[in-house]
Amino acid sequence: MARSVLDALTSRFGDAITTRSDHGDEVAVVARDRLVEVATFLRDDPAMAFDSPVFCTCLDRLHLNEDPRFEVSWQLRSLRHRQRIRLAVQVPEEDARVPSLTGVWAGLDWQERETYDMYGIRFDGHHDLRRIYLYEEFVGWPLRKDYPKEKRQPLVRRTGLE
């Protein structure tokens, strides 16, 4: 069913979209500068009506030898038509920023913060981009593949202990 969504996206946005299907999940990889436009279309078009966000996360493809390094994805759901689709944007390490979709679906607020916290992806236009699980003083992005699992960063406050 979501196949028709991909076809509609391709015919409307043409070059900005590449599509793939993996194990029954439909994915549309969108050019970064067209993302908000595509997302708004998916939400507002009555035939699409993707009214509800599911999750946002990122895939670090460092060890998969795929380029560019990060693929940020947003899973969406249409409660009206009972269908699903995943949007993805690929960004390189040195320019790891994507437009925020919180303006389209408010429910993505914390999900994008989590992705920022874990992968260091910056969401342009997010109203409150702070770390969510970790503390402000934390250095680095723990879910990136080059962050060692054994690394420890205990939070020690030494104020007034001279």
Binding site: D22, H23, D25, W105, W110, Y133
Partner: protein, 414 residues
């Protein structure tokens, strides 16, 4: 001297009260609620800005229970991830087990190819877990509002189910019972009768609890009209599960995207009409009844047969083979040390968890370990809405709103 007032207790007129209000300081105050607060079960902190007793804004801060689920999963074999999933939503671990197993099975192309008995066992333990989840949520919320007796009744009932699951899996709380391609062991002797007995006893408990709570003036006043979310709000925010249904949307993964054997089972999806905390409570109570209904059907229908798929790629060999043949020994060793080989690909699989849509987004690179294992936890999404919901409410209203979210720290903080 005329500005001096005399305060005589109990002798004020309405006019005096009006004037008094003007004199009260109206600066905003910042209050920390949590992370260690009796009503903030699951360690979460809310930094409140309050105007007297009224909440102006609240910054909800999770993360105190962050245990790097994803990072650990990336370094464990596919089977070793099960114990980590137990610790996500620790009041319904079986549902997490099933959700994760289904995601891996999707990548292995085993969806729908499991033995029927294994599917039935999964649904049985999953629905028991859903009941324990709802029992905990309603019980804890009632207690936080001062109703201690229903809490004891509900937890007593939950304990029966935990003991039954202990007989099934060997562990009271962290079961790790499900395996990729089936389950770890068959149901123990006498399970059938014991579960039927428990369901009858639990129905009796539910009658008692509803008698204590449904028309309880205090409980009703604290819950009704509090934390209202409309169907549009819920949809836009990505809320699922009992909270979404309390707002009147009949979305249930078991009905809308049926998996396992839910197509063959008869049950209803209860929905609320107002979307307030009281509706969320009623929906949960109704869902316990539906789960009991599902369990009775499963017990009547469950067939005999194998409990794990007969596929040497995913299933451990029987112990007799492991100990007596070199092939069995090698296969066992490879499974344990290297892990199951899952073909490359990515998939998102979701089930109806205790609190809503519980999903696993997994990327496999062909080795014995997940390349990425993201969990879409309903608690995290629901908790993110609390900051806005509590605006304009009284501080005391935070307790039922937070309670009916049923935030489970392990699942929310990953």
């Amino acid at each position: 001297m005329s500005s001096l007032k005399t305060y005589v207790l109990g002798r004020k007129t309405a006019e005096d009260l009006d004037r008094d209000d003007d004199d009260l300081p109206n600066e905003l105050m910042t209050v920390n609620m949590g992370p260690s607060h009796p009503a903030m079960h699951g360690t979460v902190r809310i930094v409140l800005t309050v105007d007297g007793e009224r909440v102006v804004s609240g910054d909800v801060q999770p993360g105190f229970l962050h245990r790097c689920f994803e990072k650990e999963a990336e370094h464990a074999t596919w089977t070793q991830v099960f114990p980590y999933t137990d610790r996500l939503n620790y009041v319904s671990p079986m549902l997490n087990n099933v959700g994760y197993a289904m995601a891996v099975e999707k990548l292995l192309d085993l969806t729908g190819k499991l033995p029927r008995r294994a599917e039935y066992i999964r649904v049985i333990v999953g629905e028991i877990s859903r009941i324990t989840d709802h029992l905990t949520c309603t019980g804890a919320s009632a207690m936080e509002l001062g109703a201690f007796t229903p809490f004891l009744y509900l937890l007593k009932s939950r304990e029966w189910f935990y003991q039954l699951l202990e007989k099934v899996s060997g562990a009271r709380l962290t079961h790790s019972y499900v395996r990729i391609g089936g389950v770890f062991a068959d149901l123990p002797d006498g399970f059938h009768d014991e579960l039927l007995g428990l369901l009858d006893k639990t129905e009796a408990v539910m009658v008692e609890v509803e008698a204590l709570l449904n028309n309880n003036k205090i409980f009703h006043d604290r819950m009704a009209g509090v934390g209202v979310l409309t169907a549009e709000d819920c949809t836009r925010l990505g809320i699922t599960g009992p909270m979404l249904r309390a707002s009147g949307v009949d979305y249930d993964v078991r009905k809308d995207f049926p998996y396992s054997i839910y197509d063959d089972l008869e049950f209803d999806v209860p929905v609320g009409s107002k979307g307030d905390c009281f509706d969320r409570y009623l929906v949960r109570i109704a869902e316990i009844r539906q789960s009991i209904r599902i369990l009775r059907q499963c017990l009547a229908q469950i067939p005999d047969g194998p409990i794990i798929v007969d596929d040497p790629r995913v299933a451990l060999p029987p112990k007799s083979e492991t100990y007596n043949t070199i092939e069995g020994m090698i296969r066992h060793f490879k499974h344990i040390m290297d892990g199951i080989r899952v073909p490359p690909g990515e998939a998102y699989t979701f089930i109806e968890g205790g609190n809503g849509e519980l999903g696993f987004f997994i990327r496999a690179d062909g080795t014995g370990r997940p390349y990425k294992c993201y969990v879409r936890s309903p608690s995290f999404v629901h908790l993110s809405t609390v900051g806005n919901t509590i605006k304009g409410h009284l501080i005391a209203d935070i307790v039922p709103i937070f309670g009916m979210i049923n935030m489970i720290g392990g699942e929310c903080d990953k």
